[in-house]
């Protein structure tokens, strides 16, 4: 084995490189004043890294005996997530300069980059060992990030909740994996598992193993019934981290889930996975929606909305085909811009006034017409209203879910469709607060910071263009043309 193999992991190396630069810069500038350049430097470096990843030629790379594979789909999802992280960095640029956090902003960026590195490993893993390493690298630093407002009681509480559930879910996942190991003839390669567990070999233990694995990964995706940590953690965490948790971490895990689902357990898919996932999706979409209706705090509101959105993302996994994976990646991309658009507004208002209640948004259009406009677009996009991107992503993921033509999937899509109406109701509540509710505006007029504004512009452009311009979907679809998937 030569070290040249590392050279194949270009996206990871880029992230690692940025991490090292930030780390060194942070270490050698311990006196407060010199750290001014840290935020712009990281943002610019990361932006360049994102461009580099987008421009990389996509070729199939498989190293370390097939443990690590970088195919077109993995490259595409990494590029998509990178854009999301870039938006998060822009959004948080102002917040990390606040008095309480400024001294520790180096840590903020380092931890963030480490989690992203972990997610990349999860995405590219084709061996469960690497997957678990990636998963841990992605979740443990996140707990530290959740606790980043360390003087705030809620932030600490959220971190404790997050770390306990994360560790617990990892334990369950590992338990499930050890059962799988017993069936797979002593190998944890996805491909070996695929060939060694034939469909005829169903047993109670295997079903338990599958249930454990769904539970373990479901925690990360906050699928119902493994979602109970979500609302508290989202509410307590700093808003930058909430937005990171709600899109990036979800997107990466959903993709990894799909790959495991198809490439490792594809053979026993109809017997085992499908119905469990079916039930979990219905529960996720419905419960997320019903709980979102009652929320008065916008961060909790977004937490439940993101739970139900995760259910929609997983619809892409109901058909193990190119169109399913392509639609899922497209959905993730659109969800990133829509959700981060909403969070950009929430962050700006929270940073200026400290207000996150839905009541505080009453009459917002009188004082902040542009923020109101952006928030309205984000809500419409999340609800799936044309001509905004959310409509296209929902439509395409429903189309992909019905592509096999089986009746249960039509029923699933019908349930999901009815749920979009429920979700429309609560997204419209925000629109109603902004435009319709009477009374004086509770948030005074202000100009948001450059970083937040830039993030918002990117998101609004994405919301408007990603649907009308078909290239994004084509990009995702073409990237999803990987071996092992049906059409």
């Amino acid at each position: 084995m030569g070290y040249s193999q590392f050279g194949a992991m270009i996206p990871e190396l880029i992230i690692l490189g940025i991490f090292l630069v930030v780390f060194v810069a942070d270490v050698f500038s311990r006196d407060g004043s010199a750290k001014k350049f840290l935020t712009p430097m990281t943002t610019v470096l990361f932006g360049l890294g994102t461009i580099a990843i987008w421009l990389l030629p996509s070729c199939e790379v498989s190293v370390f005996g097939g443990m690590y594979v970088n195919d077109t789909a993995s490259m595409a999802i990494k590029a998509i997530l990178n854009i999301g992280v870039f938006i998060v960095l822009l959004q948080s640029a102002h917040w990390v300069e606040s008095d309480e956090v400024a001294i520790r902003k180096g840590e903020f960026y380092e931890l963030l980059l480490v989690t992203l590195f972990g997610m990349y490993l999860m995405i590219s893993a084709r061996h469960f060992l690497l997957f678990v390493i990636g998963l841990e690298a992605a979740s443990l630093p996140l707990a530290a990030l959740v606790a980043f407002n360390k003087k705030h009681y809620e932030s600490d509480e959220a971190a404790i909740k997050y770390i306990l559930t994360a560790v617990f879910s990892s334990a369950i996942l590992l338990m499930g994996l050890s059962f799988v190991y017993a069936f797979s003839g002593g190998s944890l390669y996805y491909s070996d598992i695929y060939t060694n567990i034939a469909s005829g070999q169903m047993s109670g233990l295997l079903i338990v193993a599958m249930a454990f694995m769904i539970a373990g990964i479901g925690f990360k995706l906050s699928l119902v019934p493994f979602h109970l940590w979500t609302a508290d953690v989202y509410q307590g965490a700093p808003t930058a981290i909430t937005s990171y948790l709600s899109v990036i971490s979800k997107g990466a895990t959903a993709f990894a889930f799909f790959i495991i689902f198809v490439q490792a357990f594809g053979q026993i898919y109809p017997d085992c996975w499908e119905w469990m996932l079916y039930a979990v999706i219905i529960a996720t979409i419905t419960v997320g929606n019903l709980f979102a209706i009652r929320q008065k705090n916008l961060k909790r509101f977004m937490a439940f909305s993101s739970i139900s959105q995760a259910g929609y993302i997983m619809l892409g996994a109901m058909t193990s085909s190119t169109i399913g994976l392509g639609s899922m990646m497209y959905y993730i991309f659109v969800y990133i811009v829509s959700n981060l658009g909403a969070f950009a507004v929430i962050t700006s208002i929270e940073n200026k006034t400290g207000k996150v209640g839905m009541d505080d948004y009453d009459g917002l259009h009188k004082t902040n017409p542009w923020l109101s406009f952006a928030m309205t677009l984000a809500m419409f996009s999340l609800a799936g209203i044309p001509p905004f991107a959310g409509f296209f992503s929902k439509f395409l993921i429903f189309t992909s879910a019905t592509s096999t033509g089986s009746m249960p999937l039509y029923i699933l899509v019908l349930i999901a469709l009815i749920n979009t109406i429920i979700s429309l109701y609560y997204y419209l509540l925000v629109v109603k607060a902004i435009w319709i509710n009477p009374g004086e505006a509770k948030v005074e007029a202000f100009k948001s910071n450059t970083g937040e504004r830039a993030a918002l512009w990117i998101c609004v452009a994405g919301i408007v263009l990603f649907g009308l311009v078909p290239y994004i979907y084509e990009y995702c679809y073409n990237a999803a043309l990987i071996p092992g998937l049906g059409q």
């Binding site: 039509y410 019908l414 009815i418 109406i421 419209l428 319709i436 078909p470 084509e474």
Partner: protein, 505 residues
């Protein structure tokens, strides 16, 4: 090329209108009105030209199913196109839309507050409607359909009156609920509509050409698509959004919504549900005949007991739109032609009604007929207009309503069996009931004694209000006196649909 097709301009112009409005200042009424009047006049001119050219081409012997057909690839992996094309019916619908958008602009001359935002959403709404009528691709059709629905929420919620928040939410959720059913139906048609080995398609003409959907699926999908569009067509158990929504909406929005948007429901019903699923249409029409029959009679009776002018009209719309769906379900050329005539007639008439109610309300600040009377003495112009609209509504010969309803009932009576006869006879009673509630209002409101002394000082219509109403009345009388060219245009366009129905028995 893309912009070489006239139909595309029906979407491009509203988008330019949106862009133009976006550049205007929030309260710069001059600029906003300038943009609105220019663009709506251009659209009206384009529609008239389109109708003339359509007739000329037909007269010259162009027998193609759709004219100005064109198709551009949009989402390649799923074979989604932006496909356009119009037949005689869509051409007339485009004309109707243009007339009402034009009249609506003048009816909301003094809109307040936030005039710019109002017209932005109004333009988005009309973009959706135009796009829907020019599309022959199910995906784009559905997209434009939803584009037309959502602005209603803000238009009613912000600029409405009365229980506007409740009504806006109810209307939006019910219509979107309908479109959820519709979407499942469309997905089913997409995945089952093409024979083995052919690429799946969203194109309506191609799917109907293949005629590949098996009978079991047809029945299921027909229910989904018909109910989906039926919600917007105010079909009986799903009509409850309509009275509340129309009563609370601002004038121009009521006009556009009752005048055009509800027609989207009827249009979709025959263009997608009946045309693409003909076997199921033959088999299941009876269920919906019952429901729409109830709509017709129930709507008319409900209108009789209302005291709010807008509620009277909203219920009368339920009745009249029920008539549209009812006639479509008769599945023969005559009745279906009547349905389209009814769509046009009802669109213009309701728009006129809502415009007049808006104008009266703007002066008297009440819509309750118990608190008003003798408007003929106070504002004779508006009074006369109201009577004309009323006569059109109750089907007086010489007005559009008469032509439409006669055609519908003649067509419906072609069915000789007991079931159809009973329902047709029940539906005809609505003509009498309509006369009851229209004459009640006219007698009390227009001709009765003056109820409120303060009303005596009110003024008659202004120039922009006259322009708005005269346009609509001219069109109403036009249909009434010269129905022939209309019904010929329509009849020809129903041929493929009736053929498909006959093949599928």
């Amino acid at each position: 090329m893309f912009f070489g097709n006239i139909l595309i301009w029906f979407v491009v112009v509203p988008i330019l209108m949106l862009a133009g409005l976006a550049l205007c200042g929030q309260n710069n009424m001059k600029a906003i009105r300038g943009v609105m009047v220019t663009c709506s006049t251009v659209l009206l001119g384009m529609s008239i030209w389109l109708v003339c050219d359509f007739l000329a081409q037909r007269a010259a012997g162009n027998q193609a199913e759709m004219l100005w057909m064109d198709s551009w690839m949009w989402y390649k992996p799923l074979n989604i196109h932006l496909a356009v094309g119009v037949d005689g019916i869509s051409v007339l619908m485009l004309l109707l839309t243009s007339i009402i958008v034009f009249a609506g602009t003048f009816a909301s001359w003094k809109i307040n507050p936030l005039p710019k935002n109002f017209f932005l959403w109004y333009s988005l709404l009309s973009t959706g409607v135009y796009g829907f009528f020019i599309s022959i691709d199910m995906f784009t059709m559905f997209m434009f359909y939803e584009v037309a629905l959502i602005p209603m929420y803000l238009l009613i919620g912000v600029w409405g009156t009365g229980r506007k928040e409740y009504s806006a939410m109810k209307l939006t959720l019910m219509l979107m609920g309908g479109s959820a059913f519709l979407m499942l139906g469309l997905l089913g048609i997409y995945w089952h509509g093409t024979p083995e080995g052919m690429p799946h398609t969203w194109n309506i003409l191609e799917i109907s050409h293949y005629g590949n959907i098996d009978y079991g699926w047809q029945n299921l999908l027909f229910v989904f698509t018909f109910v989906g569009f039926g919600v917007l067509g105010a079909m009986f158990p799903f009509h409850t959004w309509s009275p509340d929504g129309h009563a609370c909406a601002p004038t121009a929005v009521s006009m556009l919504h009752a005048g055009v948007l509800m027609k989207l429901g009827g249009y979709g019903c025959f263009r997608i549900a009946i045309f693409l699923l003909p076997h199921a249409a033959n088999e299941l029409a009876w269920i919906f005949i019952i429901l729409t029959g109830i709509s017709i009679v129930y709507g008319a009776f409900s209108a009789c007991v209302q005291t709010d002018l807008k509620y009277i009209n909203a219920y009368s719309s339920v009745s009249h739109c029920g008539m549209v769906l009812f006639a479509l379900l008769m599945l023969n050329t005559t009745a279906m032609t009547g349905a389209i005539l009814q769509m046009l007639s009802h669109g213009l008439m309701t728009a006129l009604f809502f415009a007049l109610i808006g104008m009266i309300y703007g002066r008297t600040h009440t819509r309750d007929i118990r608190q008003m009377g003798g408007l003929m003495k106070i504002m004779p112009y508006l009074g006369v207009c109201y009577m004309i609209a009323g006569f059109a509504s109750l089907g007086l010969p010489g007005m559009s309503g008469f032509v439409a309803e006669m055609t519908i009932f003649f067509g419906s009576f072609e069915h000789a069996d007991m079931f159809h006869r009973i329902f047709v006879i029940a539906a005809t009673t609505s003509i009498v009931i309509t006369a009851v509630y229209i004459l009640r209002v006219v007698g009390k409101l227009i001709l009765g004694p003056v109820q409120d002394e303060h009303h005596l000082s009110l003024t008659d219509a202004t120039w922009w209000e006259r322009l708005s109403t005269v346009t609509l009345i001219a069109c109403l009388a036009g249909i009434g006196f010269f129905p022939n060219w209309l019904s010929e245009t329509i009849q020809h366009s129903f041929k493929p649909i009736v053929d498909a129905l006959a093949m599928a028995i």
